[in-house]
Symmetry: C2
Subunit: 216 residues, 2 copies
Amino acid sequence: MTSPSAVYGDLTTQGASSNIAWHHTSVDRAARAQQRGHRSAILWFTGLSGAGKSTLANAVNSALFERGLSCYVLDGDNVRHGLCKDLGFSDAAREENIRRIGEVSKLFLDAGVVVLTAFVSPFKADRDKARALVDAGDFIEIHCAADLAVCETRDTKGLYAKARAGEIKEFTGISSPYEAPEAPELRVDTGSQTLEESVEQVLAYLSAEGVIPQAG
Amino acid sequence: MTSPSAVYGDLTTQGASSNIAWHHTSVDRAARAQQRGHRSAILWFTGLSGAGKSTLANAVNSALFERGLSCYVLDGDNVRHGLCKDLGFSDAAREENIRRIGEVSKLFLDAGVVVLTAFVSPFKADRDKARALVDAGDFIEIHCAADLAVCETRDTKGLYAKARAGEIKEFTGISSPYEAPEAPELRVDTGSQTLEESVEQVLAYLSAEGVIPQAG
């Protein structure tokens, strides 16, 4: 029954058990990509409130899921009430919010998941820090470029009205700046395109970049 | 070419594009489980430094990966230098560290991934808060129960020697308490069992709980 045993702290010993096999090294990103049939990436959606970031990210996520990819959306719904619930909306808090989202995105990237983040992320420096955490090509910045006037007209959540009334402080576009990306990987005109057109634009980019495997 | 278009903020409209289909609702955990063929879970490894948490978690992760499951390890290597690099080792910092790890684990759980966390996580209250974030059955606490004497004898990283010399403050087991789980889902004797035996014990539990699908 006894054979050379693997010891704790040493994974270089091949398991000798009858029904267990593990690799000499930990499972890495390359192994995950090979198993899942696609590489991972961070799709970083940025834009004003109401520009359609979360809607577009979720629609792209559904399309990727339909194609069998591992994918996940990080947005206000699952981050602001959880990981970042201790943070407010001051500049410093926004910076820390985006820093954590960047770090969590890096973990999902490492886990082989295409992660889609949908946050205003108004400051270029913060977005660039998130970009700098990963290798070139892994960070795909997608500017949802609806104009402020369009977003304010939509005002689906009534936030612009409250911001104009002074009920919300430091609201991006009204009382806090939005620094539009100068050279995003992709700029999507979410102000005038249909959602379908925007989804197709993103999918075409991902296909060209090899994130979406070529259809068989 | 034109058909009723989905609009931003409204995903209830079925996409009418020729090559895109998305669901009425966002992709949820149940859909992911169905697609991947397994449910997700949080495997929360806790124990003293040197007890073998990270080694066991990585070995279990490799075994799960071999079986085709989506799985990922969170440990000091990928969390302490990233998401939690702003945190020290005071009681408050440890609490926030574990809080964030719990929240990130919940995101991975939602993403359909079996996530394995390998942190000392010495305080019962902090572990229980992480448990309370998710539904019953989703949080599997695994106590790596090697005795302090065993861990200190191993001292693979030389940390106990430094703690005894006072070079490391608030070191769990020496100058900071470890609150062992009273009723963990699983207690693994990582002090005397081989790594293979411990991996088999964890896999047997996961199989019994339906996390590992029955082999075809």
